[in-house]
Symmetry: C2
DNA sequence: GTGAAAGCGCTAACAT
DNA sequence: ATGTTAGCGCTTTCAC
């Protein structure tokens, strides 16, 4: 809790050299002799030197700072965030994270990142930028999602088809001939996922019926509650329900259990995103994994390239998803459709 | 995506004045005449001026930057984070958020905040600093949790007793004479909560039996699974279960439902934290709310005071919790203990 | 009411 | 192999 900061100058004075030597030495530049580098390192340690980014930021052309804009209340965004931080750090980049939420609009968040000199910004899900014209951004954007936040930028997109294809195969193999899809909230992502499901199911001669639900626990709960009411017993229910995401699936499972039905005995349920709850023993949701590590890797890759001045055309990276089978899906009850 | 930044100098040149005037004008200093302030504002807008914190940070003694260290994978931390951001922003402070996670240890996170000149740091839950000697921090810390991260710092603490007292009253009123407590992970927080429950229950002549569980879905699920197995039917089960937090409670509910039991018909279940899942219709958990808005308010208050040089003794703020009753608790089945 | 000048801590170009 | 110098964009005296 010392009031005055230890600077390069303090180290230089202590070692008896110049600030520029200290600066280079601390960054491990080989222009400085090994022994000198060591002496500097030791002295910096002793004085408790903590670099000041303000000075560094100001001077250098590429301060190696990336921005990240996401909605941290969504677990998947948190997963991306974690991976992105680790990867960027390993490459010597710092990441400034801004979580967009009700009390902290995207406009503010974006401004702050630019004020701190983020050289390029990774945006998880274009909807995070709702209310901001992406055009106002003065830096390159790398979007993770189904569509670019702004033309000319880079995009890392999940390929839903692969994982959903595996899911449909899995369900067909278990004898399910018809599935109900609990659809997500209106939007590109939801549409893309539904389209993929319909396409893949059609190819395999499986029927899909779509019901409006949403992305959270209660959307799934309510939608399933309605289905159960309308069905009047297990015989009127579909044998399998494919949900927009894991939260929605969780709601659906709870509704089934509350109705005295068994999962997967009476109804099989699948989710999407392979989140923590999916992996839990309590639910054991069969779910589609989007390989967040790979997505994060590509996003960081592009963000760094852009921050280093790569202005070449807008890149597109497609990452295949894959199915993770757990206990929430099982054989279709014979005799039911 | 312009390559070169618009600076104060650019605005000054355009308006035909000096950078110092522009600087003062943009910050609304009344030393500058109103018409001049307006001209500067307009020109800044026209040029798309975006302040550069690097310069500002470097020059000014109190750059009005707070740091926030939390575990963003926990919903409650996210809630605090959101409130803190909004409150700090309203008072003209920026907040740099660092989410500690596996790939991004507390040491790194703390270092980064200091490098960016955070004047004081709010730490949600002292366990967030695991692996870091808090003594190394060169700035004041404000801890939110049950104990200080470092002696001499400020603490904002949840008063468990008030909410848990209400909970015990509520359960007693419903006819419950004995409750089982699903305890959280070993640690101060868990201990404090258990102690509060035992104290409050003792005062009202209610019996408490403690079972080791944890803080997540599966801890609750497993613990409840064991209880159900051991009980062999509803008659051997407690009439009410008080869980460490909402996640744990959720696991407990799912275990009960899977066993064909009803909540609250057979067993009442309560949580802690009043999270989104507690408020969901699917679960409707009776839960203890910690008034995160108030906690956030006090934390921001102290952090700002410290950043402005308030060195006076270490403050302690206690925030009362309160019960939120929902549908997961109901009358005890008559005849059962 | 406004401008000139100094300097925050750092890095990069240019000496030596 | 190391030191000197200039300057990043901003705020803050201090002088007018």
């Amino acid at each position: 809790m010392r009031s005055t900061r230890v600077t390069l100058r303090d180290i230089a004075l202590a070692v008896g050299t110049s600030t520029s030597t200290v600066s280079l030495a601390l960054r491990g530049n080989t222009r400085i002799s090994a022994p000198m580098r060591e002496r500097v390192r030791v002295e910096a340690e002793r004085l408790g030197y903590q670099g000041d980014l303000a000075g560094s930021l100001l001077r250098t052309a590429n301060p190696r700072v990336l921005g990240l804009l996401c909605r941290l209340d969504q677990e998947l965004h948190f997963t991306y965030h974690e991976r992105i931080l680790a990867l960027a750090w390993a490459r010597g980049y710092r990441v400034l994270v801004e979580g967009v939420s009700e009390g902290h609009p995207a406009q503010q968040a974006m401004g702050l990142l630019e004020q701190f000199r983020a050289q390029s910004i990774i945006v998880i899900d274009p909807r995070t930028l709702e209310g901001v014209s992406a055009e106002t951004a003065r830096v390159p954007l790398v979007t993770v999602g189904q569509e670019r936040a702004r033309a000319g930028d880079d995009l890392v997109v999940s390929d839903n088809a692969s994982g959903i294809g595996e899911l449909v195969d899995h369900l067909a193999g278990l004898g399910h001939r018809r599935v109900v899809h609990l659809e997500g909230p209106a939007g590109v992502s939801s549409r893309a996922r539904r389209q993929a499901l319909c396409d893949q199911a059609a190819e395999r001669g499986m029927g899909v019926e779509t019901v409006q639900a949403g992305s959270d626990l209660d959307s799934g709960f309510r939608a399933m509650e309605s289905l159960v009411e309308a069905a009047d017993g297990a015989w009127g229910l579909p044998t399998a329900v494919v949900c927009y995401n894991d939260q929605c699936a969780q709601g659906a499972v709870i509704a089934l259990l509350r109705a005295g039905l068994s999962v997967p005995g009476d109804v099989s349920v699948s989710g999407f995103d392979n989140s923590r709850v999916a992996a839990s023993r309590a639910l054991g949701l069969t779910s589609v994994d989007r390989r967040p590590e790979d997505i994060a890797r590509h996003a960081v890759e592009r963000a760094i390239a852009r921050s280093e001045g790569d202005g070449g055309g807008s890149h597109l990276q497609r990452v295949a998803s894959r199915l993770v089978v757990r206990t929430s899906t099982g054989p279709a009850r014979p005799g039911r459709t």
